[in-house]
């Protein structure tokens, strides 16, 4: 028997989610268990064993396990990484501490800077300097490298990062220093800035090297243990990981560059939404994933998420840009805002206005309605008051919700202070959180020069389908798509993502003065590296597609934009086409471009991907739950008032079914609220496709 079944595993903060696909039987099955924070591999292996048992598969029938983890991001947030030493260029010991020299909050006199991952006494300097062209201004002091490495090891560091000035341009000093350190201390984990992020800008590059070193020993131990446990279980298939950019990679890449897993989990959701968009034939999509604490939005054009090449980790204030550590890693470009089911509503002292979030009641104590000690009204509480949720049938009836306690708190804490009715206060929570999400989405699209009206919203996550239609209305979107299994949709991303990686090199120059032979050589080098990496991730080298791009700007500008390149082997003859490509990218983003200013390139990128897998959801045998038929329930809409809504069992809906709002479509982990005037069709993949009334007919 050929091993073809695959399992995706998403290790989250609270739960570890599993999804299995067995193409032989076209079977999709899911599982969930509590995460085991001390050793996440325990829950993983336990969950896999159970899923295999439930689906009757022997461990040997597993082709592969694809894995996403929050371990890297949590290690940085909780500052539980190892003791790292940094070897850096003389005069630049403090570049990771000095940073960008800005205050992330203009009005807070007492703000706190994100602490560096390497304290100053473990940052040691080495004489030696290259210039912007890679020419040596001062030779590397090899004795100083040895002496300082010895000193760091004597201090008890577990890993060493090496970050020298202009190593993005020429890595020879870093490489030589690495040889010296390895010779003297063969056991120590070593990260070179030129290897992990060969990009110009020392603060970001060296920070990335330090972060990689900081998480590496822990990830090595974890991945080794997981491989061993899977082997013990009898799994002979390969273990892969999900990178932050949405590509599948080998365990070796994860061990070498664990920092590339920083957004491993969230990337899966975007990959799942991309796959849904491809399947449903949607070209312009905003994916919207709303859970207990946050909402994440991601732009998906032509079936692929936008990506970006920097990410901020370990923020002092979670939703405040600039309050974290900048990393140069390829990530799916999504926004994350403090708007979730647990977001807390309050009356602000200064202005006397109502605010919702970003503070969250989290899972503990959670919303008031959970009855676990929560006292402050949350978004979930308002959804309950408004009839969006069924007090008797939350989480498939596993949890009864306390509606009376919620009503009391909404009255006492909000309605009275605001001089509005309790219904209006509850509706206000929903209106404010929806507006917050809409504003963030508008801004995200505005930064890319896009108009939300052209987009379809794909909604998932526990709270996503509850709020999706309202969010779409605020954004003037016409259509909302809600996949089956709001809690499962995200994990499918592990199974449909392609083996993929992003490589980067830097070479700065005006287009007309660039040495194109050098550029072509960089691409040849990157393509070779990509082939090795993707083969390791299970790809057939012959199927790898390459997309070259460069970060360019007008000379003198401080900001680059990504520009697709027509070829991986550019010559001077391609110059007009490359220039035109820059102008086109510039126009697309900003609506205009200056024709005759000189243009320069800084960073050269290569995106390499093999084809992703597909899962045929038409006729898929989905192992699923059941909800009871409940007739009708009253729900409050903004202008239509209280409406009797049909309560519909999501699992009973067959492809082709149609109905009109107002309606509440219930499944185990979520409820989709369909407003009056909207029409719903169930498509061939069992997605709910909701067409919203145009503003003139809107009655919500």
């Amino acid at each position: 028997m050929t091993a073809t079944a695959r399992i995706g595993v998403d290790v989250g903060g609270t739960f570890t989610d599993f999804v299995l696909h067995d193409p032989a039987r076209n079977l999709v099955a899911t599982g969930k268990r509590l995460t085991t924070p001390d050793d996440p591999s325990e829950a993983i292996v336990g969950g896999i064993a159970r899923l295999l048992e439930e689906t009757g598969l022997p461990p040997g029938a597993l082709h592969s396990v694809v894995h996403g983890t929050t371990l890297v991001t949590n290690t940085i947030i909780e500052r539980t990484g190892c003791k790292v030493g940094l070897l850096t260029t003389e005069g630049f010991r403090d570049s990771i501490e000095i940073g960008k020299e800005t205050r992330y909050d203009l009005y807070d006199l007492f703000l706190e800077a994100p602490p560096t991952l390497v304290p100053r006494h473990l940052r040691l300097e080495v004489p030696g300097r290259l210039d912007i062209h890679g020419e040596e201004l001062k030779p590397l002091d090899e004795a100083a490298v040895r002496r300082n490495a010895d000193a760091l090891v004597a201090e008890g560091v577990e890993a060493i990062a090496i970050g020298f000035m202009h190593a993005w341009r020429d890595a020879r000093h870093e490489k030589r220093a690495a040889e010296i350190v390895r010779a003297a201390h063969p056991g120590i984990a070593l990260t070179l800035s030129s290897a992990v992020a060969p990009e110009i800008r020392e603060f970001e590059r060296i920070s990335t090297a330090c972060a990689n070193a900081y998480v590496q020993p822990r990830m090595l131990r974890y991945l080794d243990r997981l491989e061993a446990r899977l082997a013990t279980l009898g799994v002979t298939g390969a273990l892969y990981v999900m990178l932050s950019g949405g590509g599948i990679a080998s365990v070796q890449e994860a061990k070498d560059f664990p920092i590339r897993l920083i957004e491993s989990g969230p990337a899966a959701g975007a990959m799942a939404a991309s796959w849904l968009a491809r399947q449903a034939g949607l070209e312009h999509v905003v994916s919207y994933d709303m859970g207990g604490t946050t909402a994440k939005m991601c732009l998906i054009e032509n079936g692929a998420p936008d990506r970006k090449f920097e990410f901020e980790a370990g923020r002092v204030r979670r939703f405040q840009k600039g309050s974290g550590l900048p990393l140069k890693v390829s990530v799916v470009d999504m926004i994350e805002i403090g708007a979730g089911g647990g977001s807390i509503a309050r009356v602000e002292e200064g202005s006397g206005l109502m605010k919702v979030g970003p503070r969250s009641a989290g899972a503990k104590p959670g919303p008031i309605c959970y009855g676990r000690g929560g006292t402050e009204p949350t978004v979930t509480d308002s959804d309950l008051v408004l009839g969006r949720l069924d007090p008797a049938y939350f989480l498939g009836g596993e949890m009864a919700l306390d509606l009376d306690a919620v009503k009391r708190a909404v009255t006492d804490r909000l309605a009275t202070a605001l001089h509005v009715t309790p219904d209006d206060a509850a509706l206000g929570i929903r209106r404010i959180v929806d507006e917050t999400m809409a504003a963030a989405t508008r801004m995200h699209l505005a930064e890319k020069g896009r108009d939300p009206r052209r987009y379809t919203l794909i909604a998932f996550g526990g709270a996503g389908p509850v709020h999706a239609c309202e969010l779409a209305r605020l954004l003037k979107m016409q259509r909302v798509v809600v996949p089956l299994g709001a809690g499962v949709a995200s994990a499918l991303g592990f199974l449909v993502a392609p083996p993929a990686t992003d490589l980067v090199r830097s070479l700065v120059g005006r287009l007309e003065r660039l040495d194109w032979g050098k550029v072509a050589a960089l691409y040849a080098e990157m393509a070779e590296e990509a082939r090795t990496l993707l083969t390791g991730a299970g790809a057939d080298p012959a199927t790898i597609a390459f997309r070259p791009a460069a970060d360019m700007r007008y000379v003198g500008q401080g900001f680059e934009i990504p520009v697709p390149l027509p070829t991986m082997t550019p010559t001077a003859a391609d110059l007009p086409a490359i220039r035109e490509s820059f102008l086109a990218a510039y126009r697309e983003r900003f609506g205009r471009a200056l024709e005759d200013l000189p243009v320069e390139a800084l960073t050269w990128r290569l995106a390499a991907a093999a084809p992703g897998r597909d899962i045929d959801m038409k006729g898929a045998n989905v192992v699923e739950g059941r909800v009871a038929e409940r007739g009708t329930r009253r729900a409050l809409f903004e202008t239509a008032g209280w409406q009797d809504c049909a309560v519909i069992d999501r699992y009973a809906l067959a492809p082709g079914a149609t109905f009109a709002g107002p309606a509440l479509v219930e499944e185990r982990e979520s409820t989709c609220a369909v407003p009056p005037g909207a029409t719903v069709t169930v498509d061939a993949f069992r997605n709910l496709v909701i067409d919203l009334p145009t503003p003139q007919e809107a009655t919500t």
Binding site: K100, R103, F110, R129, I432, R442, A446
Partner: protein
């Protein structure tokens, strides 16, 4: 006009956040289309949405706080020159007049009317630091405004969508990089259009006929929030005097008197130095903006800003003083004076609200070194090195190292800097012992060493202070280290002048440290030991400033 009291607190919140997000979208439009690095890398811009009176309704979240405070005033002067009924869709009025706008020529203010259903409902405004305005580049040593660049009085850049080509030609004939200057002005026009379109859509969505009722309701909220914070302080008058280097013998003396009466605050600078014939004069608009901003930070940091935020605060400075100079005083480097005001106000108020203020900042005023000349390819370059001194310590923690306050201009990468200028930076490092001693230590300044590697000598313009007047501590805290600018041969160029630097020369800059907070004797010994271990404080410095009571172990 709809009754301002008709808005419930939920709708107000929703409308307000939508209007702030419209100002933010305008800022995004500006930021992404601007050409100048100074806008992009240092956030030197602002966008403001105003009602039909020119009162601010919302402001972008991340821009320069003082700009958004000034823009409505500039708009009102535009309305005096161009009465409301004369504005047409597609107009855009600009100026860079220091007295009408932001205090020096490099900043352009652009204002566009917003129409809904054919009726003027408000104004979209933006301010941005231009890549060039001709004259003396950016320098502090001019004797008159006219040397500092071209001055454009309030003029229509666009009239009903048609560009005023005569104005454009006059302007562009007077600047060094015309395409970039025009590109940035167009970016401001784009930003204003984004804002105007957003407001029109907002009014259509909400069914509101105009912004006036909402504007009144929102400014009542912000006014009330500020008044509540002021009223919580005791009535009385508090005074401070601070000094800075000024220009040559003319030391700058800021006399500050803050009077709190009920829910109002009056800040008066009587007794402050007279204006000088060098470019460090600070016009009243700028004086006002840099007086109310620190008060807002201390008393009401979390309420968003609009016209109401500062109504409870009055600011006065004698005409002819360095804080309210008469035209045509030179004022290109007005920040060297204006940035001092936060320190003066906090010093005055320290006895009343010791838990809300910070010590003087090493980065106030900012220190700038502007290099210009030719690179090895024969291309002209002109690059400001952005870097900051240390922030003053607070009652809650040590001052942030190398961070500017009251401005928030950041620093770029040295590798990127070396990619655009024929300079090599050999060092950019925290300066040990530069933070003022205290229960909480001042933020460290930094040391930067730059070698000129251009084929020929380059021009250097310096805009700095704190050479003889380091940032003072507060409530017993010690001063931060002073600033130093010197060449490798020991010569010290004039700190507010333009000089020539030979190729091969090395310039060393010390950015000043922040002042300390509270008695150094109260510093937590563990914190001091950690400072010594990390080299923020040397053992010698500890012995000197903390009386040797640390653990030398």
């Amino acid at each position: 006009m709809p009754d301002p009291d008709a808005f419930d607190p939920i709708s107000l919140e929703i409308h307000w956040s939508r209007l702030i997000s419209i100002a933010d979208e305008a800022a995004t439009g500006l930021l992404r289309t601007a050409f100048s690095t100074i806008v992009r890398e240092s956030n030197d811009f602002a966008t403001v949405l105003m009602d039909s009176n020119g009162d601010s309704v919302s402001e972008n979240t991340g821009g320069i706080a003082s700009f958004s405070c000034i823009l409505p005033k500039t708009t009102k002067t535009f309305l005096e020159r161009f009465p409301a009924e004369t504005w047409r869709p597609g107009d855009c009025v600009i100026t860079n007049d220091p007295w009408l706008a932001t205090g020096h020529l490099p900043d352009f203010t652009a204002v566009t009317p917003i129409f809904a259903k054919g009726v003027l409902v408000g104004f979209a405004g933006s301010i941005s630091h231009s890549p060039d305005v001709g004259g003396s580049l950016w320098s502090a040593d001019c004797r008159e405004l006219f040397e500092e660049g071209i001055r454009i009085p309030p003029s229509r850049l666009y009239r009903e969508g048609k560009r005023n080509d005569d104005l454009v030609e006059v302007l562009l004939s007077n600047v060094r990089v015309p395409r970039q200057v025009m590109g940035d002005l167009e970016a401001q026009v784009v930003a204003n259009q984004v804002c105007a379109a957003g407001v029109a859509e907002f009014l259509a969505d909400t069914g509101l006929p105009n912004l006036q009722g909402l504007s009144t309701a929102l400014s009542k909220r912000t006014d009330a929030a500020m008044r509540r914070a002021i009223a919580a302080l005791p009535d009385g008058t508090w005074r401070s005097v601070i000094e800075a280097d000024g220009f040559d013998e003319a030391i700058t003396r800021i006399a500050c008197e803050v009077t709190i009466r009920g829910d109002t605050m009056h800040i008066d600078y009587a007794g402050t130095s007279p204006q000088v014939d060098r470019g460090i004069n600070c016009v009243m608009n700028y004086t006002h903006a840099y007086s109310v901003y620190p008060v807002k930070c201390a008393l009401d940091p979390f309420t968003p800003r609009n016209e109401g935020s500062y109504r409870a605060i009055a600011v006065a400075a004698p005409e002819g003083s360095i804080l309210n100079p008469r035209f045509p005083a030179p004022c290109s480097a007005r920040q060297l004076t204006g940035h001092l005001l936060a320190g003066a106000i906090y010093k005055a108020l320290a006895p009343v609200m010791p838990d809300r203020i910070i010590a003087e900042c090493g980065g106030a005023p900012t220190m700038r070194a502007l290099f210009s000349g030719m690179d090895r390819e024969g291309d002209r370059f002109s690059q400001v090195l952005f870097a900051s001194g240390g922030m003053g310590a607070s009652p809650h923690r040590d001052g942030l190292p190398t961070t500017a306050f009251p401005t928030n201009v950041g620093a770029g990468s040295i590798e990127a800097y070396e990619s655009v200028a024929p300079l090599v930076v050999w060092k950019k490092q925290l300066l040990p012992d530069s933070g003022g001693a205290g229960k909480f230590r001042g933020g460290l300044g930094q040391e930067v060493e730059i070698e000129v590697r251009a084929p020929e000598a380059v021009r250097l313009s310096l805009l700095s202070d704190r050479r003889d007047h380091p940032a003072q501590g507060v409530l017993g805290g010690g001063p931060g280290a002073a600033s130093v600018i010197e060449l490798a041969d020991g010569t010290r160029p004039h700190p507010k002048s333009r000089t020539t630097v030979a190729t091969g020369a090395r310039l060393r800059l010390h950015y000043a440290g922040g002042g300390g907070y509270g008695d150094p004797a109260e510093r937590d010994p563990a914190a001091l030991s950690e400072d010594i271990r990390n080299g923020y404080v040397t053992p010698e410095g500890a012995a000197r400033d903390y009386g040797g009571r640390h653990d030398r172990g």
